[in-house]
């Protein structure tokens, strides 16, 4: 039994926007795997909800004409993992979201909800950071698109304006073409857990597979919001693919990550794991790119 004042079910994106305008305090609900949990805890007790769950237009993965991958915001984690376009172009995203919670959560939870929740530990978020994803928002003033790093404002807060909903996540062709990635979720259990630290990397190797043409390293839980390790990326770009260089790149992430001490884990421990995960993820990504360390 949930303490909810009202539930409005949107029939289209424009209907959802209208409902949100009519009920300015309302909370958007998609799969409900975050919102209902919060309501049960009493955090949103008495809330009005606008459900967008039946908007099938926001489901599924498509390839746009210019090669951009469009992931509808209501696409569930399990659908993303099994989607052929995802598997072909950005399989690491499918792997990352396959580590969320357990099977039931992955069937109901949506990638839009995961990102709009604004938490640093979301398994999809660090990988989307690594892919330079673009967030598409639709509101009363129309559609706007912004890089995912600008979407996250602070812990638990994203740039979602009044009556706006997230309608899609876009990954441009230049972001994925020629890249291979790997995501490591570091958690205390092998299932039903949130990341203590998550590291997602993409690499693009030179044609001879000997050099890092490009490197993208993203983290969850290394700071209040998901982040990119820009110093480490700069340090690694153009370097030869060697064990020593991977060690060097991994050690450089300490210039980027800003984990904190908490009862969940100490700063020193998270910093240590940041390095370990980066090195391991880079090695795996190199191997997936046909290179060798």
């Amino acid at each position: 039994m949930y303490d909810m004042k009202a539930l409005y079910e949107a029939e289209s994106v424009s209907d959802a926007i209208r409902l949100l305008q009519e009920h300015p305090g309302a909370q958007i609900i998609a799969g409900g795997s975050d919102v209902l949990v919060q309501m049960r805890e009493g955090k949103r007790a008495g809330a009005e909800l606008v459900s967008i769950y039946s908007l099938d237009e926001l489901r599924g993965v498509k390839m746009e004409e210019d090669g951009t991958l469009r992931i509808g915001s209501l696409t569930s984690f399990s659908h993303i993992t099994k989607d052929p376009l995802i598997q072909k172009h950005i399989n690491v995203l499918g792997e990352a979201v396959d580590m969320v919670g357990g099977p039931q959560i992955r069937n109901i939870g949506t990638i839009g909800g995961n990102t709009c929740n604004g938490v640093t530990s979301a398994d999809s978020a660090s990988t989307l950071f690594a892919w330079d994803a673009v967030i598409e928002l639709t509101g009363p003033e129309g559609v706007r698109r912004l890089p995912i790093k600008d979407f996250y404002i602070k812990a638990g807060k994203v740039d979602l304006r009044p009556a706006e909903i997230q309608t899609g996540i876009l990954i441009r062709k230049e972001s994925y073409e020629g890249y291979e990635g790997h995501y490591i979720k570091y958690a205390m259990r092998n299932a039903m857990d949130i990341a203590t630290l998550g590291c997602s990397v993409n690499v693009k190797l030179s044609e001879d597979k000997k050099n890092f043409e490009d490197i993208r390293i993203a983290y969850g839980v290394a700071g209040p919001v998901p982040m990119r390790a820009v110093h480490a990326e700069d340090a690694g770009r153009g370097l030869a693919v060697t064990e020593e260089n991977i060690e060097k790149i991994g050690d450089t992430v300490l210039e980027d990550v800003t984990p904190r001490d908490s009862w969940r884990a100490s700063k020193a421990f998270r910093e240590h794991i940041s390095k370990v995960l980066c090195k391991r993820a880079l090695k795996e990504a190199v191997e997936r790119s046909g290179g060798a360390v």
Partner: protein, 773 residues
Amino acid sequence: METRNHESGKSYKRVDAFEKVTGRAKYTDDLCDRNAYVAKILHSTIAHGYVKSIDTSEAEKIPGVVKVITCFDVPKNYFPTAGHPWSTEPAHQDVADRLLLTDHVRFYGDDVAAVVAEDEVAAAQAVRAIKVEYEELPFVLDVHKAMEDGAPQIHEKYQNNILAHTSIRNGNYEEASREPGLIKVEGWYHTPTVQHCHIENFICYAYMEQGRVVVVSSTQIPHICRRVVGQALNVPWGQVRIIKPYIGGGFGNKQDILYEPLCAYLTTQVGGRTVKLDVSREETFVSNRVRHSIDFHIISYVRPDGTYAARKFESFSDQGAYASHGHSIAAKGMGCFPQLYPCPNIEADTYTVFTNKSVSGAMRGYGIPQAMFAMESHTDDVAKALGVPPYEFRMNNVMPKGFTDGFSKNVNYYDTFRECMEKGRKDFDYDARREKYAHQTGNIRRGVGMSVFWYNTGVWPISLETSACRMVLNQDGSIQIQLGETEIGQGADTAFAQMAAEAVGIPFDMVHVVSSQDTDVTPFGTGAYASRQTYMAGFSIRQTGEMLKQKILETACELTRQMKENMDVIDGNIVRTTDGEVLMSVGELATEKLYSLTNNGHLTAESSYQIKNNAYSFGCTFVEVEVDIQACKAHVTDILNVHDCGRLINPALAEAQAHGGMSMAIGYALSETLLFDEKTGKPLNNNLLDYKLSTFMDHPDLKATFIENFEPTNPYGTKSLGEPPACSPAPAIRNAILQATGVALDELPMRPHVLFEEFKKAGLIQEGGEANV
């Protein structure tokens, strides 16, 4: 001539299997009236202090709220909660320190007020709307600090917060430790606070009927519950009726009286209407019971020839805020110290100490998982100091065959430890693996380790052991059987059915176990705890079955004119033993008797048996771990438990029982710990996301094997298995990590946080630099 058919010893399907897997089995919430009022508890948000005032006015205005009861409204009638058999001697009675609701708050999560409402939402809103004003007192969370002079006093009567201190003095430790040439091995071992995490949270509902209070509860101990509710409400115990349906696990948490008294009181305050009290997972972690966190200090003086000269043991058990099961847990843990590795000179002390934390009570193993972690980690430390393989050291020192404990009179009738160890060593291929992992380098390392464990069966002679049984014969020759011993998910009903079938001489499927206990109709029994039920119920089942059989044979004599002594009941038939002729079926006999116009009657038997025995139940665990040093992670790649729990009544269920205990122990070893904020005493991770209960994905295939030495004191040759599987995996995992890395971890759980710090200390991980591997 052996005429008993052995229905025990077969792997029958559980009698409740189909009900449970199809979802048809009725649990407490399934049975509750949908129109029941809902109760919710307001828990304290400070760790220690007094409630100065409570403002309920806003809460009472909320539509649907029926009644708000505060700590100032309830009778000041202190009651004990431990699920122990009652003692009529006041000195042996449990500490009565609980109230239905309290104004003296002793832990964050204590019970301050309760709301009764028409539905859950109104109840939750009302709880949030109650305003409490506290007078805060200093609090203490650490046992050692709690024992210091000047520490916050949690209960008036207990100086330095010590609930109890007991000792063992054998020989002369001081003198013996001065023997020249001894090697001293000393260690401190820490075990964490953990929670049972049964699937079904605690739930009960209560209503009044004909002036009496009826409580339907998810409890392991219905008859004890009746007594405690009677004590708490200060009403004659016969005014209380407890019904226990199927329950979704208890593991000892429900061997305590939790909120049955409060729920019973609430129904009396709302005109006897049904009141349901369904506790959330968050509350279950904090405001039910937890396992005692215990700190151990062990010193061993060992001769170079590998024998013990003198040993010292100290333990400090964190009781939390109320006495509950109290000192019995720490005392049990200490009690096995002189027995496991006999040594003539022993000095042992154990303290149970109040702190301002969640209340510790019974949990699977009752002090022995903690004690085994300390003692068996220490055993490997001693072996290492001596340079002796730990397996060999145990073989040379562990309790010998014929060992008799002076207090319990328990006898080690077989060389159980060595038999179990030898079987485990072979089945696990221990020697080859130990050899293979002897000198590893690199980041990923494997190791094997082992541990033995000590356990016993039931609570005799510390407390009463009794079992009562009723059997009723039906027209078709089947029987109903009722016992005070409870099915709590472990498979007890199936074992009872098998033993009853064997005792009476009828097939297994002709026994119908009345699974639910109802204190108005179920024979008296104390319930599920101390791994007692199969052993204890065996006595009353055997006795009652024999009584029923004699009545059947007397009836057979009437009906067949054959001499009673020349007949037996075999496989549901009356058999003339002189020639093996089947004279009639038990069904034919029962039908004839029930409808006879000349000599009518129904056949039933009922008896109780007081058990004045206990039985050792020993075994061991072998473990292989893989350690990823840089990732600070250890995981179990293989695990084997070996048990001698006597003859197996149902081998498949015994194996499942072992698997469950091993699974709990893996979580205990590697991930589980309930944390409290040092600044406020607030629990930090009282939910299943932040509390790292291990999952299916964190285990290898669990393996269990058995040695079936017939237990001579029991009619079925069986003894305890409920708790023993949870006792030895944690130290075995610890010892495997020791072999893999050379690092001796002395703190549970051995989670990455601990491994990170210890690997740094050992130089396996270098601070801010490269790996030294």
